[in-house]
């Protein structure tokens, strides 16, 4: 399975139907999610209307963690199997992961001000998510910092693998330390501590963000593959001249 998609031509043929299908699914789930989040769901008894910020903040946080983990897995795959598409996947997904992390940080601040009375606190959860954002930025800068693109991808892969230690810190920071940020409500071993009227908009927005990520990751990865193909052609032309 891993070797099957190591061939960029096979990936490009897969991308041709994945992108339109996921784009349509993004629009449908986003439309439904926004209606559930802004119209159909009730206000919270404590947070009042501000709970509606959670419907973008929490899925963005999930995506920030998921994308970094997938990039680290791709970096390992690139190292072990010399998988070209996996290496390029990490480069293509990084700006999307950084965007979701930024959304998470900004919407968290916009929720924190009316609820906690502060835009920001240096508690373990928020600080570790800020570190994740800097890891994304560091990776984006590092992969383009070398004249040889392959060396950039390798250096970036090392950063991704080292930085993956931050993921369990983010996930369990609310359990390990006494933080201002509340503990997990959905991803718990027992039942979610949230009513179904608020769980469905959250899950619908999470599905929309996931489909958006798949669409953008495929589009950006296809762009990277096409750029590489053009660079190879130019080298061949220069060599033949």
């Amino acid at each position: 399975m891993i070797r099957r998609f190591a061939n960029p031509a096979r990936f490009l043929s897969l991308s041709r139907w994945v992108v339109p299908v996921c784009a349509v699914l993004t629009v449908v789930t986003l439309g439904l999610g926004l209606w559930l989040a802004l119209v159909a769901s009730p206000p919270d008894y404590q947070q009042k209307e501000t709970v509606r910020i959670m419907y973008v903040h929490v899925p963005a946080a999930w995506m920030a963690l998921f994308i970094y983990t997938s990039m680290a897995a791709a970096a390992v795959t690139g190292f072990v199997w010399k998988h070209v598409v996996a290496e390029l996947y990490a480069k293509a997904a990084a700006p999307v992961g950084a965007a979701f992390t930024l959304v998470c940080l900004l919407t968290g601040a916009l929720w924190g001000q009316p609820m906690w009375g502060t835009w920001w606190a240096w508690d373990a959860r928020m600080t570790s998510v800020l570190v994740l954002f800097f890891l994304y930025l560091g990776y984006i800068v590092l992969v383009d910092a070398f004249d040889d693109p392959q060396r950039g991808l390798t250096a970036g892969a090392v950063l991704l693998i080292v930085g993956v230690v931050n993921i369990p810190v983010i996930k369990f920071s609310v359990d390990w330390w006494n933080t201002l940020h509340q503990p997990a409500s959905i991803t718990r071993l027992d039942a979610p501590a949230i009513d179904a009227s608020m769980l469905w908009p959250l899950l619908c927005m999470a599905a929309a963000f996931k489909f958006l990520f798949v669409t953008l990751a495929f589009v950006r990865l296809e762009t990277e593959i096409l750029r590489r193909r053009m660079a190879v052609r130019q080298q061949q032309l220069a060599g033949g001249a």
Partner: protein, 55 residues
Amino acid sequence: MIEQSAAAFSHGDYILLAYVVTFGILGALAAQSFCAWRRARRQDRASAPAGGDAA
């Protein structure tokens, strides 16, 4: 200054700002991604050899 303006915000303002920020960032990224993709496809077709090549 920030504290004064924060006090003037209603809950609806925070919600509106959060959604504008979210879809502003994601929309800008999507637009940039699709524009770069279209440009790369156009350049790829223009630079393709007549007989085709291996990817």
